[in-house]
């Protein structure tokens, strides 16, 4: 009895240990992660499907059940809640990139030669400069769709800051392969005998030495630069937001490719995103099936597939598909709260925190209309009106996705500090996703220990960009300003925290958390 009582008291005391805020060092935020030090070339690690399935369907549920810890904050985030530049991400690209920087090597140049990998719709080649490319064709009967999706998604993700290999839409003929003409002619005829010139997506890959897929969970053991578990990378967690926007049908290690760039011993690993031919609804299309021909593989709801024995009729073509033959089933309607790619699950997406979603939303909304148009032009649509309509759908979808993720946080960003005056932007209002007239804020002031250092204040600026003077009575050497946005009477689930060093009547930002 005494032992049980003391055990309960101990447990209660553990539970009762109160909240303690994060504390940041008084230093400027890191802008580059310094993960490109020269390292020996790691061993290639091709994706082993059986091991991956065992990991996803058995290890992960067991490990998750045995893990009582909270999902940690992303490990690749700096003190101001941003992702610094690294071998995974180019931080200063979004919104300021020169679009011409995308095509470093450009499309393949004739004459071409086959280097291997003649798949059903894929081909590995080298161009006249000796640069390797992977060519992928469209599905017969749906020209332009997959090749355009690959090229467009690659450009959009590149513009956001991800590292993607170049994808160019090209047209090839057997004459482009003087040394392999017969082989290519046969392959092209098998693929689509009706065409004399075949449209393909040329992916500039491999860049450097292909090391295979990046683990969804762990680091690459023989890469000393890879120190943040991949499941805790915001760059990967944020793909839940971008996946909902661009409608990734699948997401997994097969889309995250590592390459060793540089001379052996002098290079480092760069982490790419690739393989987006199934985005923008390209793999959800309803094909017109000729009489007697087989229908495409079933996708969609696995429970429905199970109970109907895989015999359920294909969904009718959407209005988008009927009107625009080069676009798949890619509609304006999107449900970001429910979005998940097709099974098997991808672990970083299950660890996406609201702060990760807000970061990805800012990157996504930071793309200008010019950049989106440029990306869509890379798809090379020939049907009139297709590009404009896709731009419109992308815009509608990204606003819906951003609206949901910004509603999970108080989407405030500190744009500047002058003395004790904070200049704040509410990005939900900046993007027109919430109404300024019904928005107010509650600001609390805490010291480094989390104790109140002043009375909270209620603010109703009625504008997206506003300023707040720090009350004199609330100042502390290390001050945490915690601002919760209220839409109507409803507070957002998570406040924005701004950590400031106060000295000589001036405030200096040292940390941000959402």
């Amino acid at each position: 009895m005494t032992r049980a009582l003391s055990t309960c008291c101990f447990a209660l005391s553990l539970a009762a240990c109160g909240y303690r805020p994060v504390r940041f060092v008084d230093a400027p935020p890191v802008s580059h992660a310094d993960d490109e030090s020269p390292v020996p070339m790691p061993k290639p690690d091709p994706l082993e499907p059986k091991a991956y399935l065992a990991d996803v369907y058995l290890r992960r549920p067991i490990m998750d059940a045995l893990d009582a810890a909270r999902i940690p904050d992303a490990g690749d985030v700096n003190s101001i809640d941003e992702v610094p530049g690294s071998s995974w991400f180019v931080a200063d690209r979004a919104g300021r990139s020169r679009l011409s920087d995308y095509a470093v090597d450009g499309p393949p140049r004739s004459p071409l030669r086959v280097t291997g990998g003649l798949g059903a719709d894929t081909l590995s080649i080298a161009d006249a400069r000796g640069l390797p490319y992977r060519m992928r064709a469209d599905v017969v009967g749906r020209p332009e769709m997959r090749t355009a999706a690959d090229a467009i998604a690659s450009r959009l993700l590149w513009a956001i800051g991800y590292i993607t290999p170049e994808v160019h839409v090209v047209h090839i003929r057997s004459e482009d392969f003087p040394a392999d003409r017969g082989q290519v002619e046969h392959w092209l005829q098998v693929h689509d005998p009706r065409q004399s010139s075949h449209r393909m997506a040329a992916t500039r890959w491999p860049i450097g030495t292909d090391l295979g897929a990046a683990s969804a969970t762990f680091t690459r053991a023989d890469d000393p630069n890879d120190q943040v578990p991949h499941v805790d990378r915001r760059t990967l967690r944020g793909l839940r937001v971008l996946g909902a926007w661009l409608d990734f049908k699948t997401m997994g290690p097969q889309k995250t490719l590592d390459a060793y760039v540089g001379a052996p011993g002098c290079g480092h690993v760069v982490h790419y995103l690739a393989g987006f031919e199934d985005t923008l609804g390209a793999d959800k299309v309803s094909s017109k099936v000729a009489k007697g021909a087989l229908h495409p593989d079933c996708g969609g709801n696995p429970f429905l597939n199970l109970v109907t024995l895989g015999l359920q009729p294909d969904p009718p073509p959407s209005a988008m598909e009927r009107k625009y033959h080069a676009i798949g089933s890619f509609e304006e309607e999107v449900h970001p709260e429910r979005y998940r790619p097709e099974l098997p699950p991808y672990e970083p997406l299950d660890h996406t925190l609201p702060s990760d979603g807000f970061w990805a939303s800012r990157r996504m909304m930071g793309l200008g209309e010019e950049q989106i148009r440029w990306a869509v032009e890379g798809g090379g649509f020939t049907q009139r009106g297709t590009a404009a309509h896709l731009v419109h759908v992308l815009e509608v979808r990204r606003r819906a996705v951003a609206a949901w993720w910004t509603a999970q946080v108080s989407p405030l960003v500190l744009e500047g500090v002058e003395g004790l005056r904070l200049q704040l932007h509410d990005y939900a209002l900046v993007w027109g996703l919430a109404a300024a007239g019904t928005t107010s804020y509650r600001a609390e002031f805490l010291d480094a220990r989390g104790a109140e250092s002043g009375a909270s204040v209620r603010l109703e600026p009625r504008t997206a960009c506003w300023e707040m003077e720090l009350p004199q009575g609330a100042l502390a050497p290390y001050l945490i300003v915690r601002i919760t946005a209220l839409r109507g009477a409803f507070p957002k689930p998570r406040p924005a925290q701004f950590h400031l060093m106060i000295a000589n009547g001036n405030a200096r930002l040292v940390g941000v958390r959402h």
Binding site: L14, V30, A33, A54, P224, L309, L311
Partner: protein, 438 residues
């Protein structure tokens, strides 16, 4: 402010390579700027719970540490991989899988499998435990090369003990078969078996869809009554000495030549194609008077896409036979059985036939479901095989698969003899080919 870093473009590669062995690894990067992490109410309680769960969590993590399985190493069937399966390297990986097998009428068996693979070789070690009289230890070593055609050489060794096995006698209707000498009204004897087996196998794929296997095995079995007197003893059911091979060690060397034509692009995934397989082998006893016989058989299956490419209708026929000269005795454990029959596999005789019709469809990536019906019969000879009096079973299964391997299976089958439930993970499906037979 950038963290200080060594400019990669300016490095002296020669100097770096020379000092590589002593090079200092990049220092741990901390970009977060966090001096003290956030702590929520209840975090200490979570930490306490985490400490309690540390040992089981680390054990589970160890079981899944990396992997690099070679194609076919976990199969109970000889496989020569296709050319494309050689096109990625597997070097220096060791992986662990837990294994679990549960089937109605057999003991719960849990264990683990370790797989290590290098460029051309792979080895697996499996151990399973289901009780003191139900355990297995198995090791396989496999070499695979591509030049000039795919070729595989493998060596295997196994020791296992199984208990609770049943023998109802020979024939489709054992009680009515005059070859069985029953001494009571009991219809089935229970027994346990200890088995050791080594197999050497050479497989080659001379053309794209054709595999040729030459294999030889030495197996040693000893059968006796179940420990503890559980279940009817053999002598309580059959006249002593009337069942060849009972209660003595049987040693057989079996050498076989098999050909398999398989046009499917993947062995396990639901895809269309045709499978035709034939084999013939000789078996002779070692250090025993009897046990010389021939095995011969064939299997044919069609994989026909219905409505979708991944909805596959699979009609199949399997015929196995044992031929012996007069005066010869074939141990009861070496009679033809029916591993392809997914009901209660209890019938044995010198000839066996199993007809199956499966409908398998893809539910989701790497997940498929199956409806099936089997009909099986045994007979003293091929001439005596008949569609009359066949045993039937129907059922449903869901499996987790990759292109060439079944990873897990959950299924139920129903027959007039009862229902059968099976769950397996990491254990090869069914009983494979003749060298890996039950």
């Amino acid at each position: 402010m950038k963290l200080s870093r060594m400019p990669a473009t300016a490095c002296s590669c020669v100097a770096l390579l020379a000092s590589e062995a002593n090079a200092e690894p990049p220092r741990k990067q901390d970009v977060s700027g966090v001096a003290q992490p956030e702590r929520f109410t209840g975090d200490l309680l979570r930490s306490g719970a985490g400490a309690l769960l540390f040992v089981p969590r680390e054990l589970a993590s160890l079981l899944f540490f990396t992997s690099g399985a070679a194609v076919g190493i976990v199969e109970n069937e000889q496989v020569v991989p296709r050319v494309r399966d050689f096109l990625f390297s597997r070097d220096g990986r060791i992986g662990f899988f837990p294994t679990l097998f549960v089937e109605t009428g057999s003991s719960f068996n849990v264990g683990g499998r370790m797989i290590a693979s290098a460029d051309t070789a792979a080895t697996t070690l499996r151990a399973g435990y289901g009780g003191p009289d139900a355990n297995v230890v198995e090791s396989r070593l496999r070499f695979a090369r591509l030049t000039p055609v795919p070729i595989v050489l493998s060596f295997e060794g196994m020791h296992d003990r199984r208990t609770g096995l049943g023998y109802p006698g020979i024939g489709q209707d054992p009680r009515g078969d005059p070859r069985n000498r029953f001494v009571s009204t009991l219809t089935q004897a229970s027994y346990q078996e200890r088995r050791e087996r080594v197999i050497a196998s050479l497989g080659i794929r001379p053309v794209r869809d054709l595999e040729v296997f030459l294999s030889s095995s030495y197996s040693q079995r000893f059968s006796d009554d179940v420990s503890g007197g559980v279940g009817p003893r053999f002598d309580d059911v059959f006249a002593p000495g009337s069942v060849p091979g009972w209660s003595r060690t049987t040693r057989q060397v079996y050498t076989e030549l098999a050909l398999r034509l398989d046009t499917r692009e993947a062995r396990v995934a639901p895809v269309p194609g045709t499978l035709i397989e034939g084999y013939g082998g000789t078996s002779r006893g070692v250090k025993q008077e009897h046990g010389r016989f021939l095995r011969v058989g064939a299997r044919a299956a069609g994989f026909i896409s219905v409505y979708r490419r991944t909805n596959v209708l699979i009609p199949k026929i399997v015929i196995d036979g044992v031929a012996y000269s007069s005066g010869e005795q074939v141990p009861f454990s070496e009679l033809a059985r029916q591993p392809d029959f997914r009901g209660f596999n209890t019938r044995r005789d010198f000839t066996s036939m199993v007809l199956s019709l499966d409908y398998r469809w893809k539910v989701q990536r790497f997940v498929a479901a199956r409806l099936f019906v089997d009909a099986a019969t045994v007979a003293p000879s091929a001439r005596d095989l008949s569609l009359k009096g066949m045993r039937y079973v129907g059922g449903f299964e869901v499996d987790l698969y990759t292109a060439n391997t079944e990873l897990a299976r959950l299924g139920v089958s129903v027959s007039p003899e009862g229902a059968l439930f099976v769950f397996s993970f990491g254990v090869a499906p069914r009983f494979g080919d003749r060298q890996h037979r039950d």
